[in-house]
Amino acid sequence: MAKKEHENNDEFRPNGTIAILVVFVITTLLIWGTIYMILISRGSTI
């Protein structure tokens, strides 16, 4: 643990940040996954 004389950001718990990022990750997986499925469904190129 960091020394006590230095101020740290440990006391602050950014729960809202995590919530927003979870929403972001789910959106990313959905959108990226959709495009990936389009790619797969169109078959090979070699």
């Binding site: 960091a2 740290n8 950001n9 440990d10 718990r13 950014p14 940040t17 995590i18 990022l21 990750v25 990313t28 990226w32 990936y36 790619l39 797969i40 169109r42 078959g43 090979s44 190129t45 070699i46």
Partner: protein
């Protein structure tokens, strides 16, 4: 400034680990599609002289079109040009359903694009280079191939079609 190791908030540390895992996941999915399912990007094929590629009698692009190499397997030599008009030669190709077609596309003047709608064929056409991808057409129908790179004022009208007959 400190000589200590960097301090990272536990939440942020977890997020960083999670981000890395997610990126590895994407990279894996991409690799599986590329090396497992053969969905590949174009590779260097051959180099030509764009000044003569359309006229030299030894050049397959002096007589562009479809060639049946063996039953159900075709080579399509396609020439893209902006001069005298913006078009692909040939403008139309007909193959039976189930055919596998290798497209060899080059340009005799400026850069063009080549994208066959509803397929994974999508690549640049660069003078001096030959772009090649192979596509299997299973479903009958008409598939337009369109120019996707700016090539002058006629860019928007440049297209052709592959007709897949049942």
């Amino acid at each position: 400034m400190s000589a200590q190791p960097m301090h990272i908030h536990p939440y942020e540390r977890n997020w960083m680990v999670f981000s890395a895992v997610m990126l590895v996941l994407f990279a894996t999915a991409v690799s599986v599609a590329a090396f497992g399912m053969g969905i590949q990007v174009p590779a260097p094929e051959q180099r030509v002289d764009p000044r003569i590629v359309a006229t030299d009698p030894n050049s397959p692009w002096s007589n562009p079109g479809l060639r049946e190499v063996s039953p159900g397997k075709y080579d399509a030599y396609i020439l893209a040009h902006a001069i005298p008009v913006w078009e692909y030669l040939p403008k139309e190709i007909t193959v039976p359903a189930g055919s596998s077609v290798s497209f060899y596309v080059t340009s005799s003047d400026v850069q063009h694009g080549f994208k066959i709608q509803d397929t994974n064929a999508n690549f640049m056409v660069i003078p001096g280079q030959v772009s090649k991808l192979t596509i299997k057409f299973n479903k009958p129908g008409t598939y337009n191939y369109i120019c996707t790179e700016y090539c002058g004022s006629g860019h928007g009208i440049m297209y052709g079609a592959i007709i897949v007959t049942p």
